[in-house]
């Protein structure tokens, strides 16, 4: 596949994150440096407490680093005001959560429309959302509330919601953790196809071996540090790295 070399989408420079705990603090990230190019399909993995979720939260502008800088699409977003960060999340970043996090009182279609409505987009929002639902194979379930959908279906709705604003980046926090094997593979395949088709950058936090087998790049973390980062050109095949955790 011939793709132009993408420009850097995410750049973390000497990023540390310290959580206050009582009189002291817990260091979740220690001077992390990471660059992710456009169109990458990246897994951040490692044991619990290694800092992978914290890293994803910082990349997704859900949190701010204690030290260091985060650049998104060349812009330093480290200390942006909350409203500006909200707008950036809405326009440029899609989120997929382990527990799907759909709004229970809204139908599948309304859930997918939500980011467009938050962005105050005009036009036929329901048509745009329906197209996304069709892309994840749930057009016929548009009117269903989340409680009437299976776990796999809910996660597909969440993927449609994450993609509806055509974001450059999708952050997925353990997207397959609550799914059975069949659904997990469907979800992985779906995200992979979207990555190939749209060039959307995916960053996962995961433990899932099945997902790790599919990514282009694996970032292994331990104790708040990146201990191994295999870039696409270093990968011989899409087999997972064998690292003793």
């Amino acid at each position: 596949m011939n793709r132009a070399v993408p420009a850097s989408l995410i750049e973390l420079r000497d990023v540390s994150k310290i959580y206050s705990l009582g009189e002291g603090g817990v260091t979740a990230l220690k001077k992390v440096n990471l660059t992710i190019q456009r169109g990458e399909f990246v897994a951040v993995w490692g044991p619990s407490g290694s800092g992978k979720s914290t890293l994803c939260n910082l990349i997704g502008l859900l949190d701010s680093p204690s030290r260091g800088t985060v650049h998104l699409d060349g812009q330093d977003v480290t200390r942006l005001p909350d409203d500006h960060r909200s707008e950036l999340r809405n326009h440029s970043i899609g989120f997929i959560f382990q527990s799907f996090n759909l709004i229970p009182v809204l139908s599948a279609l309304e859930n997918v429309m939500l980011p467009l409505q938050i962005a105050k987009r005009s036009g036929k929002l329901s048509k745009m959302a329906l197209e996304r639902l069709a892309e994840v194979g749930l057009k016929d379930h548009a009117a269903h509330r989340p409680a009437k959908l299976s776990g796999g279906q809910q996660q597909r709705v969440a993927i449609a919601r994450a993609l509806v604003t055509d974001p450059a980046l999708v952050i997925a926090d353990e997207p397959t953790a609550n799914l059975d094997s069949e659904n997990a593979l469907r979800i992985i395949d779906l995200m992979r196809r979207i990555n190939h088709k749209n060039g959307t950058t995916f960053v996962f936090s995961t433990h899932d071996q099945r997902l790790l087998e599919q990514v282009d790049r694996q970032v292994l973390m331990r104790d708040g540090e990146i201990i191994e980062d295999r870039a696409p050109e270093q990968m011989e095949s899409r087999r997972p790295l064998t690292v003793r955790l």
């Binding site: 949190d63 996090n101 709004i103 938050i118």
Partner: protein
């Protein structure tokens, strides 16, 4: 906008029971305030109508300066003579807002049935003028006749009215012929024959055994004077009372007259006391309702925020701004206020309709006969209640909603 209202509406139905209790609390509070407000309005209106129209006191009373302070000890010194009355009436005729100007002379003396005597106090008035004032009474006071017998007449000056207590004391009935005695303004004793035309309940309980209504001419003849002690002024509209007082004071002072002009509520101490009492009751009720509404809404919104913390995190992650979160919970709270007010309006109308249907009666203070108990519908109160309850609901939600908006997104997403 509709999306967020729809979302807020659906969120309210997530915990139906809790929302229902909050709406009930607001609705009952609304109904309590408006029913009490409607009842006090009925009381105030009838007290006012009773004083101004039924008792014939009008909106304004004009006295010679000092009469109210010193007049009881030396009444003749503070009487308005014919020339002064003519001057005042001339000034007053320039105002189309003034419907009636009725002179009065209040007198006191002894009333005898031929065997025993007792003291009396009497209001000497022009019966036709009083009748004109009476005829403008509205509501309940316009429908009930507060005396037994027949009306007094201008030309039949011996026809008088007695309070029932006074009549009972002297064993007088309708058609009886008592004799009224009093010192004239020059200090001689005078006596006049009278005939009881009517029996009534005294407007002031303390006067029940001594109050009389007599034609002005009767009072003037008994005191042997052509003077009066006050002029009663009826205005076209209650709202003109204060402006007209100020205007008349200016105009009459320009004529070189030293007068006191009092409004009906300054002279009706009973009205003022009752109003003050009901104002306190209303305030206490309002504070109770205020507390219930605020507590209910704060509880509902706080519980909703706690239960939906992860959802708040999700919305924030999707790009919802802090003010959007505040707006969402404010909308939910406002809807609680709107539904509560609608329920309250319905309950108030039901109570009002029930009262209209059942026509209960009661004996209010100062009236010794049963009269219809009413609850007025006061649109102004209802409108203010709706607005106030919505604002209260919004205000009550603002603190927990702001707290929700300031949550750390990561913490909210991890909330279980």
């Amino acid at each position: 906008m509709m999306t967020w209202i729809k979302l807020a509406l659906r969120n309210l139905f997530r915990n139906r029971r809790r929302s229902l209790f909050t709406i009930l609390a607001i609705g009952l509070g609304f109904a309590a305030v408006n029913t009490l407000g409607g009842f006090t309005e009925y009381i105030f209106t009838n007290l006012k109508e009773g004083y101004i129209y039924t008792q014939g006191n009008g909106h304004l009373s004009i006295f010679k300066a000092g009469f109210l302070k010193e007049g009881k000890l030396d009444p003749t010194r503070y009487l308005l003579d014919e020339a002064e009355v003519t001057t005042i009436q001339t000034v007053l005729t320039h105002y189309p807002e003034i419907l009636v100007v009725a002179p009065q002379l209040h007198i006191s003396g002894l009333l005898s049935n031929g065997k025993v005597s007792t003291i009396f106090v009497a209001a000497g008035r022009v019966p036709s003028a009083v009748h004109t004032i009476n005829s403008r009474a509205r509501g309940m006071m316009g429908r009930i006749q507060l005396f037994d017998g027949k009306p007094l007449e201008d030309d039949v000056i011996y026809g008088v009215g007695l309070s029932k207590g006074l009549a009972e004391q002297l064993k007088l009935g309708l058609g009886s012929d008592p004799v009224a005695m009093a010192p004239t303004v020059s200090g001689q004793i005078n006596a006049l024959d009278a005939q009881v035309f009517q029996l009534f309940d005294s407007p002031v309980e303390a006067l029940e055994d001594k109050f009389m209504l007599v034609p002005l001419k009767f009072a003037q003849n008994l005191y042997d004077t052509s003077s009066v002690d006050r002029l009663t002024v009826l205005l076209r509209d209650d709202g003109l009372t204060e402006p007209m007082r100020a205007q008349l004071a200016e105009d009459l002072a320009a004529q070189g007259l030293k007068l006191d002009i009092k409004t009906w509520n300054e002279l009706s101490t009973f009205y003022t006391k009752v109003k003050q009492m009901f104002d306190v009751i209303f305030l206490v009720t309002f504070l109770i309702v205020f507390t219930i509404v605020v507590m209910s809404v704060v509880n509902t919104v706080s519980m909703a925020i706690m239960e939906r913390t992860r959802e708040i995190g999700t919305l924030r992650a999707l790009g919802f701004k802090r003010r959007g979160i505040v707006g969402l919970f404010a909308t939910e709270s406002m809807l609680l206020g709107v539904f509560g007010s609608l329920l309250g309006t319905l309950l108030t109308l039901l109570i009002w309709f029930g009262v209209v249907l059942l026509e209960p009666t009661w004996v209010p203070p100062q009236i010794t006969r049963r009269v219809p108990l009413e609850i007025y519908l006061v649109p102004d109160y209802m409108l203010y209640s709706v607005l106030l309850l919505i604002v209260l609901s919004l205000a009550a939600a603002s603190l927990p909603a702001r707290k929700a908006a300031r949550m750390q997104i990561v913490g909210a997403l991890g909330h279980t």
